[in-house]
Protein backbone atom coordinates (compact mmCIF):
# COMPACT_ATOMS: atom_id res chain seq x y z
CA UNK A 1 0.00 0.00 0.00
CA UNK A 2 2.75 2.42 0.96
CA UNK A 3 6.23 2.07 -0.36
CA UNK A 4 9.06 4.45 0.52
CA UNK A 5 12.50 4.19 -1.08
CA UNK A 6 15.59 6.23 -0.33
CA UNK A 7 13.69 9.11 1.19
CA UNK A 8 15.90 12.04 2.07
CA UNK A 9 14.85 15.20 3.81
CA UNK A 10 17.42 17.81 4.55
CA UNK A 11 17.39 21.13 6.27
CA UNK A 12 19.91 23.79 7.04
CA UNK A 13 22.37 25.18 4.54
CA UNK A 14 22.18 23.18 1.30
CA UNK A 15 20.46 20.38 3.19
CA UNK A 16 23.56 19.72 5.20
CA UNK A 17 21.61 18.29 8.12
CA UNK A 18 19.57 15.24 7.27
CA UNK A 19 16.29 14.99 9.13
CA UNK A 20 15.53 11.81 7.24
CA UNK A 21 18.53 9.96 5.86
CA UNK A 22 17.89 7.46 3.08
CA UNK A 23 14.93 5.73 4.63
CA UNK A 24 13.17 2.83 2.94
CA UNK A 25 10.24 0.78 4.17
CA UNK A 26 6.87 -0.49 3.07
CA UNK A 27 3.46 -0.92 4.64
CA UNK A 28 1.03 -3.55 3.40
CA UNK A 29 -2.67 -3.02 3.09
CA UNK A 30 -4.58 -2.97 6.36
CA UNK A 31 -1.34 -3.18 8.27
CA UNK A 32 -0.28 -0.82 11.06
CA UNK A 33 3.36 0.08 10.86
CA UNK A 34 4.98 1.66 13.90
CA UNK A 35 7.85 4.13 13.96
CA UNK A 36 9.52 4.46 17.30
CA UNK A 37 12.36 6.72 18.28
CA UNK A 38 13.32 9.59 20.48
CA UNK A 39 12.85 13.25 19.74
CA UNK A 40 14.77 14.51 16.75
CA UNK A 41 15.05 11.10 15.12
CA UNK A 42 13.00 12.20 12.12
CA UNK A 43 9.83 10.19 12.62
CA UNK A 44 7.54 13.19 12.67
CA UNK A 45 9.30 14.70 9.66
CA UNK A 46 8.72 11.45 7.83
CA UNK A 47 5.01 11.59 8.56
CA UNK A 48 4.80 15.18 7.42
CA UNK A 49 6.43 14.27 4.15
CA UNK A 50 4.00 11.39 3.66
CA UNK A 51 0.91 13.47 4.29
CA UNK A 52 2.03 16.26 2.00
CA UNK A 53 2.89 18.99 4.50
CA UNK A 54 6.60 18.94 3.81
CA UNK A 55 7.57 19.33 0.18
CA UNK A 56 11.36 19.37 0.38
CA UNK A 57 12.23 15.77 -0.10
CA UNK A 58 14.02 13.47 -2.49
CA UNK A 59 13.37 9.85 -3.16
CA UNK A 60 10.46 7.69 -4.12
CA UNK A 61 7.09 7.44 -2.43
CA UNK A 62 4.32 5.25 -3.78
CA UNK A 63 0.91 5.16 -2.15
CA UNK A 64 -1.81 2.82 -3.45
CA UNK A 65 0.17 2.29 -6.61
CA UNK A 66 0.47 5.98 -7.39
CA UNK A 67 3.88 7.64 -7.43
CA UNK A 68 3.87 10.76 -5.25
CA UNK A 69 5.15 14.15 -6.22
CA UNK A 70 5.84 16.98 -3.76
CA UNK A 71 2.58 18.67 -4.81
CA UNK A 72 -0.37 16.49 -3.89
CA UNK A 73 -3.73 16.43 -5.59
CA UNK A 74 -7.02 17.00 -3.84
CA UNK A 75 -7.89 13.36 -4.36
CA UNK A 76 -4.76 12.44 -2.43
CA UNK A 77 -5.92 14.36 0.60
CA UNK A 78 -9.14 12.42 0.54
CA UNK A 79 -7.32 9.12 0.77
CA UNK A 80 -4.51 9.95 3.22
CA UNK A 81 -5.19 11.76 6.50
CA UNK A 82 -3.35 12.51 9.71
CA UNK A 83 -4.10 12.83 13.40
CA UNK A 84 -1.80 15.24 15.19
CA UNK A 85 -0.18 14.93 18.56
CA UNK A 86 -1.39 17.87 20.55
CA UNK A 87 -5.16 17.84 21.09
CA UNK A 88 -4.92 21.39 22.34
CA UNK A 89 -3.17 22.71 19.26
CA UNK A 90 -4.72 20.76 16.43
CA UNK A 91 -8.21 22.20 16.71
CA UNK A 92 -9.03 25.75 15.62
CA UNK A 93 -10.06 27.62 18.78
CA UNK A 94 -12.78 29.58 16.99
CA UNK A 95 -14.48 26.78 15.09
CA UNK A 96 -17.23 24.65 16.55
CA UNK A 97 -17.24 20.88 16.23
CA UNK A 98 -19.82 21.14 13.49
CA UNK A 99 -17.77 23.66 11.52
CA UNK A 100 -14.67 21.52 11.85
CA UNK A 101 -16.36 18.46 10.48
CA UNK A 102 -18.31 20.16 7.72
CA UNK A 103 -15.31 21.95 6.29
CA UNK A 104 -13.55 18.90 4.79
CA UNK A 105 -16.89 17.78 3.41
CA UNK A 106 -17.36 21.16 1.78
CA UNK A 107 -13.84 21.17 0.33
CA UNK A 108 -14.40 17.79 -1.30
CA UNK A 109 -18.02 18.48 -2.15
CA UNK A 110 -19.30 15.38 -0.44
CA UNK A 111 -23.02 14.87 -0.07
CA UNK A 112 -25.22 14.16 2.96
CA UNK A 113 -23.03 16.36 5.12
CA UNK A 114 -25.46 16.49 8.02
CA UNK A 115 -25.87 12.72 8.20
CA UNK A 116 -22.16 12.09 7.85
CA UNK A 117 -21.35 14.44 10.71
CA UNK A 118 -23.89 12.80 13.05
CA UNK A 119 -22.66 9.33 12.19
CA UNK A 120 -19.02 10.29 12.63
CA UNK A 121 -19.67 11.81 16.03
CA UNK A 122 -21.40 8.63 17.14
CA UNK A 123 -18.59 6.47 15.89
CA UNK A 124 -15.92 8.30 17.85
CA UNK A 125 -18.00 8.28 21.01
CA UNK A 126 -19.07 11.92 21.01
CA UNK A 127 -22.83 12.24 20.99
CA UNK A 128 -24.98 14.91 19.30
CA UNK A 129 -24.67 17.07 22.41
CA UNK A 130 -21.14 17.93 21.34
CA UNK A 131 -22.00 19.06 17.89
CA UNK A 132 -22.04 22.79 18.48
CA UNK A 133 -19.42 22.99 21.20
CA UNK A 134 -16.12 24.79 20.92
CA UNK A 135 -12.72 23.20 21.63
CA UNK A 136 -12.24 24.95 24.93
CA UNK A 137 -15.37 23.23 26.17
CA UNK A 138 -13.91 19.79 25.48
CA UNK A 139 -11.51 17.69 27.53
CA UNK A 140 -8.23 16.37 26.11
CA UNK A 141 -9.70 12.98 25.29
CA UNK A 142 -12.75 14.52 23.65
CA UNK A 143 -10.58 16.77 21.54
CA UNK A 144 -8.54 13.87 20.32
CA UNK A 145 -11.72 11.99 19.44
CA UNK A 146 -12.75 15.02 17.43
CA UNK A 147 -9.37 15.10 15.71
CA UNK A 148 -9.86 11.45 14.77
CA UNK A 149 -13.38 12.20 13.52
CA UNK A 150 -12.05 15.03 11.42
CA UNK A 151 -9.44 12.80 9.86
CA UNK A 152 -11.88 10.01 9.14
CA UNK A 153 -14.82 11.99 7.81
CA UNK A 154 -13.22 12.04 4.37
CA UNK A 155 -13.12 8.22 4.45
CA UNK A 156 -9.40 7.89 3.82
CA UNK A 157 -7.67 4.58 3.20
CA UNK A 158 -4.51 5.56 5.01
CA UNK A 159 -4.32 7.09 8.47
CA UNK A 160 -1.13 8.62 9.82
CA UNK A 161 -0.94 9.06 13.57
CA UNK A 162 1.65 11.35 15.10
CA UNK A 163 1.94 10.44 18.78
CA UNK A 164 -1.86 10.43 19.19
CA UNK A 165 -1.88 9.70 22.92
CA UNK A 166 1.34 11.27 24.18
CA UNK A 167 -0.36 14.38 25.46
CA UNK A 168 -3.21 12.53 27.15
CA UNK A 169 -3.66 11.21 30.65
CA UNK A 170 -3.04 7.51 31.15
CA UNK A 171 -6.69 6.67 31.72
CA UNK A 172 -7.74 8.53 28.60
CA UNK A 173 -5.00 6.93 26.54
CA UNK A 174 -6.61 3.52 26.90
CA UNK A 175 -9.93 4.83 25.56
CA UNK A 176 -8.32 6.41 22.54
CA UNK A 177 -6.20 3.36 21.76
CA UNK A 178 -9.30 1.17 21.96
CA UNK A 179 -11.15 3.56 19.68
CA UNK A 180 -8.33 3.52 17.15
CA UNK A 181 -8.22 -0.25 17.15
CA UNK A 182 -11.96 -0.47 16.63
CA UNK A 183 -12.04 2.07 13.86
CA UNK A 184 -9.16 0.66 11.90
CA UNK A 185 -10.83 -2.74 12.01
CA UNK A 186 -14.20 -1.44 10.84
CA UNK A 187 -12.80 0.77 8.13
CA UNK A 188 -9.91 -1.51 7.15
CA UNK A 189 -7.38 1.25 7.39
CA UNK A 190 -3.70 1.15 6.66
CA UNK A 191 -1.94 3.04 9.44
CA UNK A 192 1.45 4.40 10.35
CA UNK A 193 1.74 5.14 14.05
CA UNK A 194 4.59 7.24 15.37
CA UNK A 195 5.41 7.24 19.06
CA UNK A 196 8.25 7.34 21.54
CA UNK A 197 6.37 4.91 23.78
CA UNK A 198 7.43 1.34 23.04
CA UNK A 199 4.51 -0.15 24.95
CA UNK A 200 1.95 1.75 22.86
CA UNK A 201 3.76 0.88 19.64
CA UNK A 202 4.01 -2.80 20.41
CA UNK A 203 0.35 -2.88 21.44
CA UNK A 204 -0.97 -1.20 18.33
CA UNK A 205 1.40 -2.22 15.56
CA UNK A 206 2.22 -5.35 13.65
CA UNK A 207 5.61 -4.27 12.40
CA UNK A 208 7.87 -1.66 13.89
CA UNK A 209 10.73 0.46 12.62
CA UNK A 210 13.22 1.85 15.10
CA UNK A 211 14.53 5.26 14.09
CA UNK A 212 17.49 7.26 15.20
CA UNK A 213 19.20 10.28 13.61
CA UNK A 214 17.09 10.04 10.49
CA UNK A 215 17.71 6.37 9.78
CA UNK A 216 15.66 3.28 10.35
CA UNK A 217 18.07 1.15 12.32
CA UNK A 218 15.98 -1.96 12.53
CA UNK A 219 12.65 -3.30 11.37
CA UNK A 220 10.99 -6.03 13.36
CA UNK A 221 7.64 -7.46 14.30
CA UNK A 222 5.98 -6.68 17.62
CA UNK A 223 6.61 -10.23 18.75
CA UNK A 224 10.28 -9.97 17.91
CA UNK A 225 10.51 -6.75 19.87
CA UNK A 226 9.47 -8.38 23.09
CA UNK A 227 11.10 -11.73 22.36
CA UNK A 228 14.79 -12.26 22.45
CA UNK A 229 15.58 -11.92 18.76
CA UNK A 230 18.88 -10.26 17.97
CA UNK A 231 18.52 -6.53 18.25
CA UNK A 232 20.39 -3.47 17.23
CA UNK A 233 22.11 -2.08 20.36
CA UNK A 234 19.98 1.05 20.21
CA UNK A 235 16.80 -0.99 20.22
CA UNK A 236 18.07 -2.89 23.23
CA UNK A 237 18.76 0.42 24.95
CA UNK A 238 15.24 1.68 24.20
CA UNK A 239 13.74 -1.56 25.45
CA UNK A 240 15.57 -1.52 28.73
CA UNK A 241 14.85 2.17 29.30
CA UNK A 242 11.16 1.63 28.71
CA UNK A 243 10.97 -1.05 31.36
CA UNK A 244 11.40 1.53 34.06
CA UNK A 245 14.31 2.76 36.06
CA UNK A 246 17.14 0.42 36.79
CA UNK A 247 20.20 1.96 38.34
CA UNK A 248 22.74 -0.44 36.97
CA UNK A 249 21.41 -0.26 33.43
CA UNK A 250 20.98 3.49 33.56
CA UNK A 251 24.62 3.97 34.41
CA UNK A 252 25.64 2.13 31.28
CA UNK A 253 23.74 4.40 28.92
CA UNK A 254 25.96 6.66 26.87
CA UNK A 255 26.01 10.31 27.72
Amino acid sequence: MIRVRNLRVGFGVKGAMRAVDNVSFHVDEEETFGLVGESGCGKSTLLRVLCGLNRNWDGEITIAGEVMRPERSRAFFKSVQMVFQDPYGSLHPRHSVNAMLSEPLAIHRMDRADARISEMLEQVGLGPAFRYRYPHQLSGGQRQRLAIARALILEPKVLLLDEPTSALDVSVQAEILNLLKEIREIRRLTCILVSHDLAVISYMCGRIGVMNSGKILEELSAAQLTGSAAHHPYTVQLLSASRGYDHALAKELPD
Binding site: E38, S171, A174, E175, N178, V200, R243, Y245, D246, D255
Partner: protein, 278 residues
Protein backbone atom coordinates in the same frame (compact mmCIF):
# COMPACT_ATOMS: atom_id res chain seq x y z
CA UNK B 1 13.61 6.88 59.57
CA UNK B 2 12.56 10.17 61.05
CA UNK B 3 10.25 12.36 59.06
CA UNK B 4 11.55 15.70 57.83
CA UNK B 5 8.26 16.84 56.41
CA UNK B 6 5.01 16.29 58.19
CA UNK B 7 1.77 17.08 56.40
CA UNK B 8 -1.61 16.62 58.00
CA UNK B 9 -4.96 17.44 56.44
CA UNK B 10 -3.61 19.80 53.80
CA UNK B 11 -6.31 21.65 51.85
CA UNK B 12 -5.95 24.02 48.94
CA UNK B 13 -9.05 25.90 47.88
CA UNK B 14 -9.77 28.32 45.07
CA UNK B 15 -12.64 30.74 45.56
CA UNK B 16 -14.09 31.65 42.16
CA UNK B 17 -17.18 33.74 41.49
CA UNK B 18 -19.56 30.82 41.36
CA UNK B 19 -18.19 28.27 43.75
CA UNK B 20 -15.27 26.97 45.75
CA UNK B 21 -12.93 24.56 43.99
CA UNK B 22 -10.94 22.24 46.21
CA UNK B 23 -7.74 21.29 44.43
CA UNK B 24 -6.39 19.40 47.43
CA UNK B 25 -8.84 17.90 49.90
CA UNK B 26 -7.23 17.02 53.15
CA UNK B 27 -4.18 14.89 52.48
CA UNK B 28 -1.69 13.67 55.03
CA UNK B 29 1.74 12.17 54.53
CA UNK B 30 5.31 12.29 55.76
CA UNK B 31 8.63 12.39 53.97
CA UNK B 32 11.88 11.34 55.53
CA UNK B 33 15.26 10.88 53.90
CA UNK B 34 13.75 8.71 51.18
CA UNK B 35 12.32 8.94 47.68
CA UNK B 36 8.58 9.40 47.76
CA UNK B 37 6.64 9.42 44.52
CA UNK B 38 3.35 11.28 44.15
CA UNK B 39 1.47 9.96 41.15
CA UNK B 40 -1.69 11.34 39.65
CA UNK B 41 -3.27 12.48 36.45
CA UNK B 42 -3.89 16.06 35.50
CA UNK B 43 -6.20 17.71 37.98
CA UNK B 44 -5.34 15.32 40.79
CA UNK B 45 -3.76 18.07 42.86
CA UNK B 46 -0.20 16.79 42.92
CA UNK B 47 1.44 19.97 41.67
CA UNK B 48 -0.74 22.06 43.96
CA UNK B 49 0.51 20.00 46.88
CA UNK B 50 4.13 20.71 46.00
CA UNK B 51 3.49 24.40 45.66
CA UNK B 52 1.52 24.51 48.87
CA UNK B 53 4.43 23.03 50.82
CA UNK B 54 6.67 25.83 49.62
CA UNK B 55 3.92 28.41 49.99
CA UNK B 56 4.17 29.13 46.28
CA UNK B 57 0.51 28.65 45.49
CA UNK B 58 -1.24 31.12 43.17
CA UNK B 59 -2.51 34.24 44.97
CA UNK B 60 -6.14 33.17 44.72
CA UNK B 61 -5.48 29.91 46.53
CA UNK B 62 -6.21 29.39 50.20
CA UNK B 63 -3.97 26.86 51.88
CA UNK B 64 -4.86 25.33 55.22
CA UNK B 65 -3.62 22.32 57.14
CA UNK B 66 -3.71 20.81 60.57
CA UNK B 67 0.04 20.43 60.43
CA UNK B 68 2.57 21.49 57.84
CA UNK B 69 5.91 21.16 59.48
CA UNK B 70 9.40 20.81 58.08
CA UNK B 71 12.23 20.01 60.42
CA UNK B 72 10.28 21.56 63.24
CA UNK B 73 9.42 24.77 61.38
CA UNK B 74 5.73 25.46 61.00
CA UNK B 75 5.51 26.31 57.31
CA UNK B 76 1.98 27.68 57.44
CA UNK B 77 2.64 30.07 60.29
CA UNK B 78 5.96 31.32 58.92
CA UNK B 79 6.18 34.82 57.59
CA UNK B 80 7.36 35.46 54.07
CA UNK B 81 10.82 36.35 55.38
CA UNK B 82 11.07 33.11 57.25
CA UNK B 83 9.93 31.22 54.16
CA UNK B 84 12.75 32.84 52.17
CA UNK B 85 15.16 31.03 54.44
CA UNK B 86 13.43 27.76 53.68
CA UNK B 87 12.74 28.02 49.96
CA UNK B 88 15.70 27.13 47.86
CA UNK B 89 17.85 26.70 50.96
CA UNK B 90 16.36 23.81 52.84
CA UNK B 91 13.69 22.74 50.41
CA UNK B 92 14.44 23.05 46.70
CA UNK B 93 12.22 22.47 43.71
CA UNK B 94 13.00 21.22 40.21
CA UNK B 95 10.47 21.97 37.51
CA UNK B 96 9.55 20.15 34.38
CA UNK B 97 11.05 22.07 31.52
CA UNK B 98 14.51 23.61 31.96
CA UNK B 99 13.83 25.79 28.90
CA UNK B 100 11.26 27.70 30.92
CA UNK B 101 12.86 27.46 34.32
CA UNK B 102 16.26 28.89 33.39
CA UNK B 103 16.77 32.56 32.70
CA UNK B 104 17.42 32.82 28.96
CA UNK B 105 19.64 35.89 29.15
CA UNK B 106 22.04 34.72 31.83
CA UNK B 107 24.86 32.29 31.41
CA UNK B 108 24.26 28.95 33.00
CA UNK B 109 27.24 29.18 35.33
CA UNK B 110 26.16 32.55 36.67
CA UNK B 111 22.68 31.23 37.36
CA UNK B 112 24.00 28.32 39.35
CA UNK B 113 26.32 30.63 41.25
CA UNK B 114 23.33 32.79 42.14
CA UNK B 115 21.89 29.85 43.99
CA UNK B 116 24.68 29.88 46.55
CA UNK B 117 23.17 31.35 49.68
CA UNK B 118 24.41 34.85 50.48
CA UNK B 119 26.28 34.01 53.64
CA UNK B 120 28.25 31.24 51.96
CA UNK B 121 29.38 33.23 48.94
CA UNK B 122 33.03 33.92 48.45
CA UNK B 123 34.96 35.66 45.72
CA UNK B 124 34.01 35.20 42.09
CA UNK B 125 36.76 32.68 41.59
CA UNK B 126 35.73 30.65 44.64
CA UNK B 127 32.10 30.59 43.57
CA UNK B 128 33.14 29.51 40.10
CA UNK B 129 35.08 26.60 41.56
CA UNK B 130 32.10 25.49 43.57
CA UNK B 131 29.84 25.68 40.51
CA UNK B 132 32.31 23.67 38.46
CA UNK B 133 32.46 21.08 41.21
CA UNK B 134 28.69 20.84 41.18
CA UNK B 135 28.54 20.53 37.39
CA UNK B 136 30.99 17.70 37.75
CA UNK B 137 28.80 16.09 40.38
CA UNK B 138 25.89 16.01 37.91
CA UNK B 139 28.25 14.32 35.48
CA UNK B 140 28.56 17.03 32.91
CA UNK B 141 31.67 16.20 31.04
CA UNK B 142 33.14 19.59 30.27
CA UNK B 143 32.07 21.84 33.16
CA UNK B 144 34.27 24.78 32.19
CA UNK B 145 32.74 24.95 28.73
CA UNK B 146 29.19 24.50 29.95
CA UNK B 147 29.67 27.24 32.57
CA UNK B 148 29.72 29.86 29.83
CA UNK B 149 26.78 28.56 27.81
CA UNK B 150 23.34 30.11 27.59
CA UNK B 151 20.26 27.98 28.31
CA UNK B 152 19.18 27.79 24.68
CA UNK B 153 22.52 26.25 23.79
CA UNK B 154 22.09 23.18 25.96
CA UNK B 155 20.03 20.08 25.27
CA UNK B 156 17.06 19.00 27.37
CA UNK B 157 18.93 16.44 29.40
CA UNK B 158 21.81 18.74 30.12
CA UNK B 159 19.41 21.53 31.01
CA UNK B 160 17.77 19.32 33.56
CA UNK B 161 21.12 18.40 35.04
CA UNK B 162 21.91 22.09 35.27
CA UNK B 163 18.63 22.60 37.11
CA UNK B 164 19.56 19.84 39.52
CA UNK B 165 22.96 21.43 40.04
CA UNK B 166 21.36 24.78 40.70
CA UNK B 167 18.87 23.34 43.16
CA UNK B 168 21.49 21.40 45.07
CA UNK B 169 23.97 24.26 45.45
CA UNK B 170 22.47 25.55 48.69
CA UNK B 171 22.60 22.01 50.10
CA UNK B 172 18.94 21.47 50.90
CA UNK B 173 17.64 18.52 52.83
CA UNK B 174 14.48 18.05 50.81
CA UNK B 175 14.12 18.18 47.06
CA UNK B 176 10.77 18.43 45.34
CA UNK B 177 10.84 17.43 41.68
CA UNK B 178 7.72 18.31 39.69
CA UNK B 179 7.67 16.10 36.58
CA UNK B 180 11.44 16.57 36.13
CA UNK B 181 11.84 14.03 33.37
CA UNK B 182 8.51 14.19 31.52
CA UNK B 183 9.91 16.41 28.79
CA UNK B 184 12.97 14.22 28.26
CA UNK B 185 13.60 11.32 25.95
CA UNK B 186 13.54 7.91 27.50
CA UNK B 187 17.28 7.24 27.47
CA UNK B 188 18.14 10.75 28.64
CA UNK B 189 15.55 10.32 31.37
CA UNK B 190 17.34 7.27 32.71
CA UNK B 191 20.65 9.11 32.87
CA UNK B 192 19.16 12.06 34.70
CA UNK B 193 17.38 9.79 37.15
CA UNK B 194 20.58 7.89 37.81
CA UNK B 195 22.30 11.15 38.69
CA UNK B 196 19.44 12.19 40.91
CA UNK B 197 19.48 8.79 42.58
CA UNK B 198 23.18 8.97 43.36
CA UNK B 199 23.12 12.52 44.59
CA UNK B 200 20.13 11.84 46.81
CA UNK B 201 21.93 8.90 48.36
CA UNK B 202 25.24 10.75 48.74
CA UNK B 203 23.73 13.79 50.36
CA UNK B 204 21.08 11.96 52.34
CA UNK B 205 18.31 13.96 50.72
CA UNK B 206 14.62 13.53 50.95
CA UNK B 207 13.01 13.55 47.51
CA UNK B 208 9.41 14.11 46.54
CA UNK B 209 9.02 12.94 42.93
CA UNK B 210 5.84 14.12 41.25
CA UNK B 211 4.84 12.45 38.02
CA UNK B 212 2.06 10.81 36.08
CA UNK B 213 4.22 7.84 35.13
CA UNK B 214 3.29 4.86 37.30
CA UNK B 215 5.97 2.66 35.85
CA UNK B 216 8.65 5.16 36.70
CA UNK B 217 7.76 5.58 40.36
CA UNK B 218 7.43 1.86 40.82
CA UNK B 219 11.04 1.43 39.81
CA UNK B 220 12.64 4.65 41.00
CA UNK B 221 11.01 5.57 44.30
CA UNK B 222 10.90 3.94 47.71
CA UNK B 223 7.30 4.80 48.56
CA UNK B 224 4.40 5.79 46.37
CA UNK B 225 1.35 8.00 46.99
CA UNK B 226 -1.44 7.89 44.43
CA UNK B 227 -3.58 11.00 44.20
CA UNK B 228 -7.00 11.32 42.68
CA UNK B 229 -9.27 14.35 42.75
CA UNK B 230 -7.30 16.01 45.50
CA UNK B 231 -7.06 13.02 47.80
CA UNK B 232 -4.48 10.33 48.44
CA UNK B 233 -6.23 7.12 47.51
CA UNK B 234 -3.33 4.78 47.99
CA UNK B 235 -0.08 4.72 49.90
CA UNK B 236 2.35 1.84 49.61
CA UNK B 237 5.95 0.94 49.02
CA UNK B 238 7.10 0.86 45.43
CA UNK B 239 7.41 -2.89 45.49
CA UNK B 240 3.83 -3.35 46.60
CA UNK B 241 2.43 -1.17 43.81
CA UNK B 242 1.64 -4.11 41.58
CA UNK B 243 -0.63 -5.43 44.32
CA UNK B 244 -2.37 -2.13 44.91
CA UNK B 245 -5.67 -2.20 46.70
CA UNK B 246 -7.62 0.86 45.64
CA UNK B 247 -9.76 0.38 42.51
CA UNK B 248 -8.41 3.59 40.98
CA UNK B 249 -4.81 2.38 41.17
CA UNK B 250 -5.80 -1.05 39.97
CA UNK B 251 -7.77 0.48 37.10
CA UNK B 252 -4.86 2.69 36.15
CA UNK B 253 -2.38 -0.16 36.20
CA UNK B 254 -4.71 -2.31 34.13
CA UNK B 255 -5.27 0.35 31.50
CA UNK B 256 -1.57 0.73 30.74
CA UNK B 257 -0.42 -1.08 27.63
CA UNK B 258 2.64 -3.20 28.24
CA UNK B 259 5.34 -4.59 26.02
CA UNK B 260 4.06 -7.87 24.70
CA UNK B 261 0.48 -7.05 25.63
CA UNK B 262 -1.91 -9.47 24.00
CA UNK B 263 -5.19 -8.00 25.22
CA UNK B 264 -7.58 -7.12 22.43
CA UNK B 265 -8.98 -4.16 24.36
CA UNK B 266 -7.45 -2.18 27.18
CA UNK B 267 -9.73 -2.02 30.20
CA UNK B 268 -10.97 1.52 30.56
CA UNK B 269 -10.89 3.09 33.98
CA UNK B 270 -14.38 3.57 35.32
CA UNK B 271 -14.47 6.50 37.70
CA UNK B 272 -16.53 5.85 40.75
CA UNK B 273 -17.91 9.02 42.31
CA UNK B 274 -17.38 7.26 45.63
CA UNK B 275 -13.66 7.87 45.31
CA UNK B 276 -14.15 11.59 45.66
CA UNK B 277 -16.30 11.46 48.73
CA UNK B 278 -14.68 8.50 50.51
Amino acid sequence: MSAQLLVEDLRVRFHTQQRVVEAVRGISFTVGREKVGIVGESGSGKSMTARAILRLSPPQARVSAKTLRFQGIDLLASSERQMLAVRGRRISMIMQDPKFALDPVMRVGDQIAEAIPGERRGSRAEDRERVLAMLDAVQIRNPARVFDLYPHEVSGGMGQRIMIAMMLMPEPSLLIADEPTSALDVTVRMRVLAILDELAAQRDLGLIFITHDLNLVATFCDRVLIMYAGRIVEECTARELAHAQHPYTRGLLASLPRLGDTRARLPVLRRDPEWISA
